[in-house]
């Protein structure tokens, strides 16, 4: 029995940009350049990397917000109990797909319609997907507000987003996402806008809900400390490619790729007596090596720890 929920193979997303409106030479930006990964049912995979490395583009391609350039994405359809390709989704299929795959956005100040009440915001997906009777929808809204800790729910139903705090807004975003009972949720830096003391409660809420409702997450962040807290496995991205992917503790204890080492060494440690050693790499050099070797392979060094091998001196990795 294959228990993968999502299988991504060689996903590519290129953007064409032209210097000016009349320019004929188009430049291609390789935002995502051939990445592969699986997400198992009930698992949280962290996607970690610097700004501009293609994390969000990957997420948008996965949930069909932007069409991918090439590659394949298969998802588990709970109705047919089979893996299906997102290329085969027709207009009806996309409803089923979207019901099972939801997204939580970074900024709770911009992702909620300011003119709608909390009730309307959470109700919208239920209306769109025509789930349940009117009365059942009302019950579902109250129930999900209770689940995400906005209690008593009747105090929140009639409020507008500006009347509640940032942490509460992010709880509303989560409620709106989970009211659909999805199997898979993409979280794009959902806690980076929140204060430290509130951040943990949102992270704990998401972890608990994952267990309770059997949801898998793709968790996008640039902070490895947050990823460690949230994720079972972590994939490290650099310039549109995944350079290393492993179980969380394995990746942090035994990083192999130089970029992973650099990323880990740049995380501040909340302990004044700890002296952090910086691991320096030449980013231009690394970028050159990676772009000159488009067909690099991921090799397994054991324990499902995959590393990209760029078969060039300087970044040679022994098998």
């Amino acid at each position: 029995m294959n228990d993968n929920l999502i299988e991504v193979r060689n996903l590519v997303k290129h953007f064409e940009v032209s210097k000016s409106v009349f320019s004929r030479n188009k430049k291609i930006v390789k935002a995502v350049d051939g990445i592969s990964f699986d997400i198992k049912a009930g698992e949280t995979l962290g996607l970690v990397g610097q700004s501009g490395c293609g994390k969000t583009t990957t997420a948008r391609s996965l949930c069909l917000l932007d069409p991918k350039t090439s590659g394949s994405v298969n998802f588990y359809n709970p109705d047919t109990k089979n893996m299906e390709s997102i290329d085969d989704i027709d207009d009806d299929g996309i409803r089923v797909f979207r019901r099972n795959m939801q997204m939580i956005f970074q900024d709770p100040y911009e992702s909620l319609n300011p003119r709608w009440t909390i009730k309307d915001i959470i109700r919208e997906p239920l209306d769109i997907h025509n789930i349940g009777s009117i009365a059942e929808r009302e019950d579902a809204i109250v129930e999900i507000l209770r689940t995400v800790g906005l209690t008593p729910p009747k105090n929140y139903l009639k409020r507008y987003p500006h009347e509640i705090s940032g942490g509460q807004r992010q709880r509303v975003s989560i409620a709106r996402t989970l009211v659909m009972k999805p199997k898979f949720v993409i979280c794009d830096e959902p806690t980076s806008m929140l204060d430290v003391s509130i951040r943990i409660s949102i992270m704990d809420l998401m972890l608990n809900l994952a267990k309770e409702l059997d949801v898998s997450y793709l968790y996008i962040t640039h902070d490895l400390a947050v990823a460690r807290y949230m994720c079972n496995r972590i994939a490290v991205m650099f310039n549109g490619k995944i350079v290393e992917i492993a179980e969380t503790e394995e990746l942090l204890q035994n990083p192999i790729h130089p970029y992973t080492k650099r990323l880990i060494s740049s995380i501040p440690i909340p302990d004044p007596s700890y002296k952090r050693e910086r691991y320096e790499i030449n980013f231009d050099e690394l970028d050159k090596i990676i772009s000159n070797n488009p067909d690099e392979k991921m090799i397994d060094v054991g324990n499902e720890h995959l590393v990209a091998t760029h078969d060039t001196k300087g970044f040679f990795i022994e098998t």
């Binding site: 430290v196 943990i200 400390a225 460690r228 700890y274």
Partner: protein, 323 residues
């Protein structure tokens, strides 16, 4: 060496708004020695930036300093005229602002914007002298000299922030305030900027006031910290002492809610509730409604003040029973 450079005493400031007075800074006292790094940490809205702005007296017009004194090198800053303040700002005390992206005028070249500040403070210098100095500062913060001739939109976020640091250093200040200089940047760039700030600070023997909500960054950057909550300092002391034996429940809550990539993976503790609105006058302990250790022993209506519990380590008196 450990001469007191900046002495802030009983500083209180409020904003006069339509809804009432917002007491953003309440009875804040601290000293910064020369060459020392002092950290101000707390959640958003706790008054960190208000303290910074009050030190430079750059706060908005509706703010009023109700009490207290700010002494820089023995010279009182509260009550100085705008003209006298202009001499102090940038010359003795300068600031690296939060949003490097928005700190620059988009239509003027970077070098010209730095020279503008230098012309104001060193009218006697020739243009070439200023250019040489900017080149030297750029080298110090890891920028190429050619950046002077570029416009802000041509630089990346990290480069802009480096240039802001060069700007802050341009008039040889004794003390720099860094107000969340890395919040908009990703981890690798943050690491480079922090390293640059530390390097420059050691090289020039500057004092630094580092403001951040990120406990991990504060741990690395500072010798001494003050934890702020609802406009007041609730705990202050040498960074090492505060981290190893935090005395105030709020400090403990902050430390317990910070994830780390080193050491055992531990269950983090969240802090329920929201910080209080500063419009309502709070009698006694402002942290009491959220305090996880509240039942142990405290009187939330008691008047609060900082007491010294070990050399240089101060804590809000409420926590006395919980040590």
């Amino acid at each position: 060496m450990s001469k007191i450079l900046l002495e802030v005493k009983n500083l209180s400031m409020h904003y006069d708004t339509l809804e009432g007075n917002v007491e953003a800074v309440k009875n804040v006292s601290f000293n910064v020695n020369s060459g020392e790094s002092f950290g101000l940490v707390g959640e958003s809205g706790c008054g960190k930036t208000s303290v910074a702005m009050t030190l430079l007296q750059l706060q908005p017009e509706n703010s009023i300093i109700t009490e207290g004194s700010i002494k820089l090198d023995g010279k009182e800053l509260v009550g100085l005229s705008e003209n006298d303040l202009r001499k102090v700002r940038w010359d003795s005390i300068s600031i690296v602002f939060q949003g490097a992206m928005n700190a620059w005028n988009p239509v003027i070249k970077i070098g010209e914007q730095i020279r503008e500040a230098m012309r104001e403070h060193y009218p006697q210098n020739s243009k070439q002298e200023n250019i040489n100095k900017i080149n030297e500062l750029f080298r110090m913060v890891g920028l190429d000299e050619s950046i002077s001739e570029r416009f802000p939109h041509e630089l990346s976020g990290g480069m802009k922030q480096r240039a802001v640091i060069a700007l802050a250093l341009s008039c040889d200040p004794k003390i720099i305030i860094a107000d969340e200089p890395t919040t908009a940047l990703d981890v690798v760039i943050q690491d480079q900027i922090l390293n640059e700030i530390k390097k420059v600070q050691n090289l020039l023997g500057l004092s630094l006031i580092y403001i951040s909500h990120d406990i991990a960054v504060i741990a690395e950057m500072t010798d001494k910290i003050a934890v702020m909550y609802a406009g007041s300092i609730v705990e202050m002391g040498p960074t090492k002492n505060v981290f190893t034996s935090p005395k105030h429940s709020y400090t403990r809550a902050l430390l317990d809610s910070t994830p780390s990539i080193k050491g055992e993976k531990k269950k983090l503790r969240s802090l329920d509730g929201e910080p209080p609105s500063l419009i309502d006058k709070i009698d006694g302990c402002s942290f009491a409604p959220r305090c996880p250790d509240r039942e142990i022993s405290c009187n939330p209506t008691e008047h609060m003040s900082l007491i010294e519990i070990e050399p240089d380590h101060y804590v809000d008196v409420c926590s006395q029973g919980k040590i």
